[in-house]
């Protein structure tokens, strides 16, 4: 026993560290740790601390203010009312399109077209939609001239404008994630199901969807977080003082119009918590799904 202890004491520190997976290569992680500390952890902790140091009142005053004033707490509901439908619509829409695109020959062309809105940025998309959906835009002119509608349809500066803008700008992202989950599923599984008598519908419900579900849950979370932090389209295409006064607008107003940084920080923290609750709820549902590889099992 004591002999063994003596031996272990003589092992150099370098070797003992290496046994635990720490060696020279570990140093390569340092820049990214510094990066995360400086640009994420520090601002986050700073904001968190700031939110508990209100301009007036006790340390919880900012949170009390937020949850006692419907002008503030309604923004949660208004944001969810946009973000949840947008995410659900995008995820559901991405499935059939990805199913079709997967079997296409010129997949890359279509993927490029669909990805374009990401590269154009939210503001350009919002501006474009403003013109397109506006009272004198193509859509309304088409509806009026063809007699389908007697008066212009109001699609900008309200809830619907923001909803549409969010769908358009987030869809490519959702679609790409769905497509990549789908292409990870071995096509021979569908072939096997079809030889066993499964119709395309049965193959979708029994094979594709269960294998796709875990990917869709992650996809939902990532797309939801984007939609939840909507700002440019809510301002440009929405009704930022009314129905689309989303939570990020509340934080913006607090910070840059009232110069109340502690309140703005508190709102940002609440925003993060709401996202966290939704994401946690969705991810915990993944426990019901198979989570292994979607490739045909092989020994």
């Amino acid at each position: 026993m004591s002999a063994a202890d003596a031996v272990s004491e003589r092992v150099p520190l370098r070797l003992r560290l290496a046994r635990r997976g720490i060696d020279g290569v570990t140093l390569l992680v340092a820049p990214s740790i510094l990066f995360v500390l400086a640009l994420f952890i520090y601002p986050f902790l700073y904001g968190l601390a700031l939110s508990f140091a209100p301009k007036e009142g006790g340390w919880l005053a900012n949170y009390e203010k937020f949850f006692s004033d419907p002008f503030f707490y309604d923004t949660i509901w208004k944001t969810l009312r946009l973000a949840v439908p947008v995410t659900v619509i995008n995820v559901l829409l991405s499935i059939p399109i990805a199913l079709r695109v997967r079997t296409m020959r010129h997949q890359r062309i279509l993927t490029t077209i669909l990805v374009l809105p990401i590269t154009l940025g939210t503001v350009l998309v919002a501006d474009g939609l403003l013109t397109y959906l506006g009272p004198r835009g193509w859509l309304n002119r088409l509806l009026l001239d063809s007699g389908l509608s007697a008066s212009p349809v109001h699609l900008v500066h309200n809830y619907w404008g923001v909803l549409l803008a969010l769908i358009v700008s987030i869809f490519p992202f959702t679609f790409l994630l769905t497509l990549s989950s789908l292409t990870g599923i071995d096509p021979s599984l569908e072939g096997a199901a079809s030889t066993l008598g499964a119709t395309p519908r049965a193959r979708f419900w029994n094979i594709l969807l269960p294998l796709l579900a875990p990917g869709l849950a992650i996809n939902f979370c990532l797309s939801f977080v984007q939609a939840f932090s909507v700002f440019p389209s809510a301002v440009l295409l929405g009704d930022p003082a009314g129905t689309t006064r989303v939570i990020s607008i509340a934080a913006y107003t607090a910070a840059f119009e009232q110069y109340d940084y502690p309140l703005a920080s508190a709102i940002a923290i609440i925003m993060g918590l709401v996202q966290l609750v939704i994401v946690a709820a969705v991810l915990s549902s993944r426990g019901f799904f198979y989570r292994g590889s979607a490739v045909a099992a092989k020994g």
């Binding site: 071995d186 030889t195 049965a202 292994g292 045909a296 092989k298």
Partner: protein
């Protein structure tokens, strides 16, 4: 659901073609399979055997010809309507379903009753000797077990045809031999008709009632294993069936009984298989049949020797540089000079390149 009858008498490929762009994977393949037969499609990779199987399963549309089950044309039916059980090369087990649910999937698609499904699944698992593994996920099984699940899943629906695409290629040598026997046992026990794709001539010879040798998208020869083994109809089939010695030869004389040929400066007697059109010929010989003989016609120097338990297998070169593969029961050493000879019945003579 299934509109295809299990009680067919014969399956017929009628000039089946399949093009991939400008590449012809199958060229007017015609073939007949009787009910209950075990047929092996044998050929090197790229010969079209897997394409033929996928066309039969309905996973690939044809670009020409038709596939018939008696007088019903099936090549335009969807795979789910054909209902042929297929065992994929990678098994294609559903990774999110237990073994039991994998095996029961086909029956569930046929909307059978719960009790019937449970009972048939148990019977199928017993047949492949996996009764105690029913609740595991495929990922928790070994390769051989997964392979048996794939077989159980394919046969539990009692398909008119069982299609197998190189099911043993992912297994190790010992398991491969075991599963080979298992596959034949299941075929006999279930009384199914099996079309089996393989590139392994040993596997085809030991499993099949009849072998279909394919090359370049065409059928080169169809026959029982012993016929293909002993008398391949063409030189390329012979090469594929293990005739490693394919020696360019001149025909000196030939009659009904056989031919006299010369290889370099050696003279041999052989059996003519293919009609000779000129004096150019190819002599095909298995290494097993070319053995040292005191008065053998082929003089050669041993280049390399491998011990394979049941004998020594060697490479030797003649004075004119022809490479020979031979077998010897006695030990031979590299550098040794030998005389090699063969039984005229085992020297097969094919028409040579003009």
């Amino acid at each position: 659901m299934s509109s295809v009858s299990r009680d067919f008498r014969r399956l017929r490929f009628d000039r089946v073609s399949r093009q991939f762009g400008s590449l012809a994977a199958l060229r007017e393949v015609s073939l007949e399979v009787a009910r209950g037969e075990f047929i092996a499609l044998l050929g090197p990779s790229g010969c079209g055997k897997t394409t033929a199987l996928n066309c039969l399963a309905g996973l690939l549309p044809l670009t020409g010809g038709g596939i018939w089950l008696d007088d019903v044309r099936i090549d335009r039916l969807k795979p789910e309507v054909r209902g042929f059980g297929m065992v994929f090369q990678n098994y294609a087990l559903f990774p999110h379903m237990s073994v039991r649910r994998n095996v029961g999937f086909g029956l569930k698609m046929q909307k059978r009753g719960r009790a019937e499904i449970a009972q048939k699944v148990e019977a199928a698992l017993a047949l492949v000797r996996l009764s105690d593994q029913g609740d595991k996920l495929p990922g928790q099984l070994s390769g051989g077990q997964q392979q048996r699940v794939a077989i159980a899943r394919a046969i539990v629906i009692e398909p008119p045809l069982v299609l197998m695409d190189e099911p043993l290629s992912n297994l190790d040598a010992k398991l491969r031999l075991e599963m080979r026997a298992e596959i034949r046992r299941i075929h006999d026990q279930v009384g199914s008709t099996t079309v089996y794709v393989t590139h392994d001539q040993d596997e085809a010879v030991s499993l099949a009632d009849r072998i279909v040798v394919m090359q370049g998208g065409t059928v080169r020869q169809v026959g029982p294993p012993d016929e293909l083994y002993a008398r391949p109809a063409h030189a390329d089939v012979a090469e594929f069936m293990g005739y490693r010695n394919l020696l360019p030869a001149r025909v000196l004389s030939s009659d009904a009984a056989g031919a006299r040929i010369s290889i370099g400066d050696a003279e041999l007697t052989g059996t003519v298989i293919e009609t000779l059109t000129s004096d150019a010929a190819l002599a095909a010989l298995r290494p097993d049949d070319l053995m040292p003989h005191a008065d053998g016609p082929l003089a050669a120097t041993v280049a390399a020797v491998e011990y394979r338990g049941r004998g020594f297998f060697g490479t030797a070169h003649t004075a004119t540089g022809t490479e020979l593969f031979f077998r010897s029961d006695a030990k031979v050493e590299p550098g040794e000079a030998l005389r090699l000879g063969a039984d005229p019945a085992r020297v097969l003579i094919y028409a040579g390149p003009p």
